[in-house]
Structure formats: structure tokens, C-alpha cells
């Protein structure tokens, strides 16, 4: 597990670390390669789910319920006789898609608000930072669970809930970066050249500060996948019978004494996914940090 605040701290540490790290070719970057391979394979599995999954993830065969592992069902079947491997494969599609998409809205909203607050400063900045403080008081899961409750469970509510909670981190990061960037010579020069604030913010400052938000976004995807899996486990996520890792763990917990693998394996898949994405994020942070080019 990780927390938004812990992620912000880790993000800063990585940022400091990258300043001193020597320049490496991207393909020699171990964590980037490991992350790319694991994440790439998972995405491939998700995309190819209709082709490679041996069975339908939702069709029930009640006569084959709770089968042990066998050549026909490599990971056995669940209480409705559905093939566990097929459900894992189709689950990758759901969990990865929601994880990646959920990051986009808070990324855009947070970056825009943080950028404006940092650039213009003054009362706008004060008000926005107060709002950020208020949102930080609500623990991630509490807020997400309450919002999913309000909007009803389902994919759309998950996007709204995650967006409402995580925009604050992007706003904080981008604001901090803009505060540094706006004092740089190139911004002063652009201003003297008569450019509008909007153009400076979008064309000049934007590209220089967004890399940090993108790097944070990579660890945020891990966090969002954890949230989706947790909501699925609590029965508040993607509605059944859709295959989803969290609800698979919940289904498996019922049979923990007799079929321990039913709850164990989907969790292991989540661990591998988050390791892959974390490594990818670390690797990207090496690659994208502008300090590297000095």
C-alpha cells in the first residue's frame, strides 16, 4: 500500500536523486526495462483477452464449480464453475483500463488549477491551497467510498470519485514546479517579448513542468488500481458478473479454508502489476527529469 502523501514525499526524493544520477541510455535503465516488460506483457494480455482466454469469464457451469487445478482449468474454477485463469485475463482488461483512464481527469484538472495558482499567485493561490488542505483531510478510501455511494457503484462513479480525491496532488506538484519555473529567464524573456500569460503558461512553462506530473501519474495509476481492486473487494466497484481482480479476491475469501488459491492468485497478479508500474515510473522519472540533460 502507499499513500498520496507518501507518494508525494517519494516523488520529491526521486526528484532529488535524479539530479545526481549519471546519464544512462534508456535501454540500460534496469527499472525502466523491467517495468516496460512487465507492463507491456500485462497490457498485451488485456488486449488479447478474447483470443487467449480459454473460456468465457462470465458463463456459469455450475456442475464444474470449485474444480482444483487441472489440464482443462489451469487455475481451477470458482463457485459458479467459471475458469479462474480466464477471469484473471479478462480482469486485466477491466482493472488496467480503469486504472489508466482514472488518472487522466485528475491529471488534467489538477495540473490546470495548480498551474494557474502557481503562475498568478496572490489570493487565487491562497484560496486554492486552502481547498487543497481541506481535501487532504479526507482519507483517500473514505472519500472514494462515500462518492461511489453517492453516485452509485459502477465505472463512471469510480472515475468521478478518484478524480475528486486525487486532483489535489497534481495541483500541489504543478504549483510547486510553476513557482520555480516562473522565475526562470526564459519566462521573463517571453514576458518581455510581449507574450500573453496564457501563451506563456501553456507553451513555455507547461512542457517544462508537466514531466513531474507525468512521473507522479505513473505511481498514481498503481494507487488507482489498488482503489479499484479495493472497491471491487468491498462490493462497491465494477458490478458482477464482470471479471475484476478485487471481486475475485472477495469471492475467493469465502472458500479460503478449502480453495486458498482462489483469493491468493488474483492478489499476486495485483502485486506483479503494481511492481511493473512502479518500476516503469522510476525508470520514466530518470528519463524525463530535465536535470538529466545538464
Amino acid at each position: 500500500m502507499t499513500t498520496p502523501t507518501a507518494m508525494l514525499v517519494a516523488h520529491k526524493e526521486r526528484r532529488r536523486a535524479t539530479r545526481t544520477r549519471s546519464i544512462k541510455a534508456w535501454y540500460r535503465n534496469g527499472s525502466l526495462m523491467a517495468g516496460m516488460i512487465i507492463t507491456g506483457l500485462l497490457v498485451l494480455v488485456a488486449v488479447l483477452a478474447p483470443v487467449i482466454a480459454p473460456y468465457s469469464p462470465i458463463t456459469q457451469h455450475l456442475t464444474d464449480a470449485l474444480q482444483p487445478t487441472s489440464p482443462a482449468h489451469w487455475l481451477g474454477t470458482d463457485k459458479y464453475g467459471r475458469d479462474v485463469l480466464s477471469r484473471l485475463i479478462w480482469g486485466a482488461q477491466v482493472d488496467l483500463r480503469v486504472g489508466f483512464l482514472a488518472v487522466l481527469i485528475p491529471f488534467v484538472i489538477g495540473s490546470i488549477l495548480g498551474g494557474i495558482a502557481g503562475y498568478f499567485g496572490g489570493w487565487l493561490d491562497t484560496v486554492l491551497m486552502r481547498i487543497v488542505d481541506i481535501f487532504f483531510a479526507f482519507p483517500f478510501y473514505v472519500m472514494v467510498i462515500v462518492l461511489v455511494f453517492i453516485f452509485g457503484s459502477g465505472e463512471f462513479s469510480i472515475y468521478i470519485a478518484i478524480a475528486a480525491v486525487s486532483w489535489v496532488s497534481y495541483a500541489k506538484i504543478v504549483r510547486g514546479e510553476v513557482l520555480i519555473a516562473k522565475k526562470q529567464d526564459y519566462v521573463v524573456a517571453a514576458r518581455l517579448g510581449g507574450m500573453s500569460h496564457a501563451r506563456i503558461l501553456v507553451r513555455h512553462i507547461g512542457p517544462n513542468v508537466l514531466s513531474q506530473a507525468i512521473i507522479y501519474g505513473m505511481s498514481d495509476i498503481v494507487m488507482d488500481i489498488m482503489a479499484i481492486v479495493t472497491l471491487g473487494y468491498l462490493g462497491l466497484g465494477i458490478a458482477p458478473p464482470t471479471a475484476e481482480w478485487g471481486s475475485m479476491i472477495n469471492d475467493g475469501q469465502e472458500f479460503i479454508t478449502t480453495h486458498w488459491q482462489q483469493a491468493t492468485i488474483p492478489g499476486l497478479v495485483v502485486v506483479v502489476t503494481s511492481l511493473g508500474l512502479s518500476w516503469l515510473g522510476d525508470g520514466l522519472s530518470d528519463l524525463l527529469s530535465p536535470e538529466r540533460r545538464k
Binding site: 500500500m1 483531510a137 479526507f138
Partner: protein, 319 residues
């Protein structure tokens, strides 16, 4: 000592807008429910009389700002409304659950420190060594695991595989509680560890490289004495604030863990309330948790000041 705590009144005043913001958000949550909030809470098949009664209880017929002041007014009287499911005051439900959640958090924090301090020290004394890498692998894995799944795995290993601990529940007598709380606390502790270890390790490395540790070493201090006397307290300072800011998130995590271990704390109440659409209870738990986070923020600053005499939060630049 006491003069360093001058900042507390100012810090409290600073927290007031945040606390009000929190109540405002919790208040507007009810307005976000689609359609008539009373109808949304009671369900479509509710009869007109009960909808009217709940509308009156929620004050839905008055202007919004008046409703908010009503809400705040009740709040100051400790009135969080009545649970729709249990028909008892929400505050009563909370007062039964809060001790459970707080003991879970307390024990988890204790266990987390017991695990983290030695591991961080192992890693920090030889950065880059195999044992440092081992600790890093542990933190990486700890971060990658969904908390509730870790809980299930601990049940599988330590309650079913080797039946050392109960599978769930809170026990019947107060003497049983710590025994029943151990596995859930361990789960939460392992989830907390990566953050604490990472912070402690990096500050220990900083401290170990400092002049005063060099001086202590040259005077013949080494091993445990050096660690206790010079390293730990100084390295603990940044970690205190790391724990403080993350404690709020851990409250959120503990709510999910309670569901795994069937503990009758705030999380179980909240999740049950969500399934029974018991909105006043959901609102009450949310409000309590958010205000708890604000208070923990203040306490963190107090501990921070006590640990590090150089920190003076009463100064204007820190306000």
C-alpha cells in the same frame, strides 16, 4: 519546553477554516445524492409520509444556507442525526466503534515502529549492501500489495495454516481484544512500514554522515549506544511528520481492514451503512474521520516541536 508550545493557539486558529471546509463538504455530500435526498436515502418505494418526515429531519425544505447552519448548530451539540438502520443516534454508534478503530491504529503504529526501526537501521548502516537491497525489496512488495489481500494472506498463514490467531472478530472481554487485534494491526503495520522505513532510512543515512556522529564515533561510541544516543532521535524527527501526514490515510486503510477481520469499528459501520443506504451514519463517520485527521495534524506539530528544539513553529515564516 513550554514556551516552544506557544504556537498551539495559532495553529488551532489556522485549523478552523479547514475544519469548516470539512463540514461544508460533508454537508454538501447529502445534496449530491441524485434527486430528492430523502427519497434517495429511503429508496423509491418509500411512502410519502416517511419521505416528508426525513425531509423535515434533514431540513430539506429550508434555504441551503439555513440548512447548513442548522447542521453546524446540531454538530456543536454533538448531534449527528439518527441512524436510519438502527434508529439510534449516530453519535452513539460512533462512540461504540471509535475505541475499536483507535486501538487498531495504535497497535498498528506500535508494530510498525517495532518492524521499521531495526529494518531501517540495517539498511542505513550499509547502504547498497545486500541487506539494504533486501529491505528495499520488502518495502517495494509492501507497497505493491493491496492491504485487504495482505490481511487475507495473514489469515491464511497465521489463523488457518498455523492456527495461532483468530480468523476475525473482536473477542468478548477486554482482555481478549489485543489478541483479536493482533493480525489486523500487523496487516496495517506492514502497510505502514514502507513509508516509515523509507523516511527513516534516508534520514539515518543523513545523520550517520553528520559531523556530530563523526565526533561521537571518534570518542569511542559505537553500535547500539551510538544508535540510541545519537542516531535514532535525530533521524526520528522527519519520520514523525511523515507518520503524522499518513495517519489519516491509514484511518482509511483501517476501515477496509476492519471489513476483512470483521472488527466492529468505524469501517464496518461505514460499509454496512453504505449497503443499507444509511446516509446519516455515512456522513457521521466521514466527518469524524476528517476532523480526526485535522487534529492529528496539530498533534504531529506538537510532537515535532518537542523532539526538535530547533523547530519553532511560532515564528511568522512558519505560520
Amino acid at each position: 519546553m513550554l514556551h516552544r508550545l506557544r504556537f498551539i493557539p495559532g495553529r488551532l486558529v489556522q485549523s478552523i477554516p479547514v475544519a469548516f471546509g470539512v463540514t461544508l463538504i460533508v454537508f454538501f455530500m447529502a445534496r449530491l445524492l441524485p434527486g430528492n435526498a430523502a427519497l434517495a436515502i429511503l429508496g423509491q418505494q418509500a411512502n410519502a409520509a416517511s419521505v416528508a418526515a426525513l425531509s423535515k429531519q434533514l431540513g430539506l425544505n429550508q434555504p441551503l444556507w439555513e440548512q447548513y447552519f442548522l447542521f453546524i448548530g446540531r454538530l456543536f451539540q454533538g448531534n449527528l442525526g439518527t441512524s436510519l438502520t438502527y434508529q439510534i443516534p449516530v453519535s452513539e454508534l460512533l462512540s461504540q466503534a471509535i475505541p475499536v478503530t483507535l486501538s487498531l491504529l495504535g497497535l498498528a503504529l506500535l508494530l510498525a515502529l517495532v518492524i521499521s526501526v531495526p529494518l531501517a537501521a540495517l539498511a542505513a548502516f550499509r547502504p547498497g549492501s545486500p541487506r539494504d537491497l533486501g529491505v528495499r525489496a520488502f518495502t517495494l512488495l509492501g507497497q505493491g500489495m493491496p492491504q485487504f489481500w495482505l490481511g487475507i494472506m495473514l489469515i491464511l498463514l497465521l489463523a488457518i495454516g498455523v492456527p495461532l490467531f483468530p480468523v476475525g472478530g473482536y473477542g468478548n472481554s477486554p482482555a481478549d481484544h489485543p489478541y483479536y487485534l493482533f493480525l489486523p494491526s500487523l496487516t496495517l503495520a506492514i502497510a505502514m512500514c514502507p513509508t516509515i522505513i523509507r523516511s527513516l532510512r534516508s534520514s539515518m543515512i543523513d545523520v550517520l554522515g553528520s559531523d556530530y556522529v563523526g565526533t561521537a564515533r571518534s570518542k569511542g561510541s559505537y553500535g547500539a549506544a551510538l544508535f540510541r544516543g545519537h542516531v535514532l532521535r535525530n533521524a526520528a524527527i522527519p519520520t514523525v511528520s511523515v507518520i503524522g501526514v499518513n495517519l489519516g490515510f491509514l484511518v482509511g486503510g483501517s476501515l477496509v481492514i476492519e471489513k476483512v477481520f470483521a472488527l466492529p469499528g468505524l469501517g464496518s459501520i461505514m460499509i454496512n451503512a453504505i449497503f443499507t443506504r444509511d446516509f446519516p451514519t455515512v456522513q457521521g463517520v466521514t466527518l469524524f474521520v476528517a476532523l480526526f485527521v485535522v487534529v492529528v495534524g496539530i498533534l504531529t506539530d506538537v510532537v515535532y516541536t518537542m523532539l526538535d528544539p530547533r523547530v519553532d513553529l511560532s515564528g511568522k515564516e512558519n505560520a
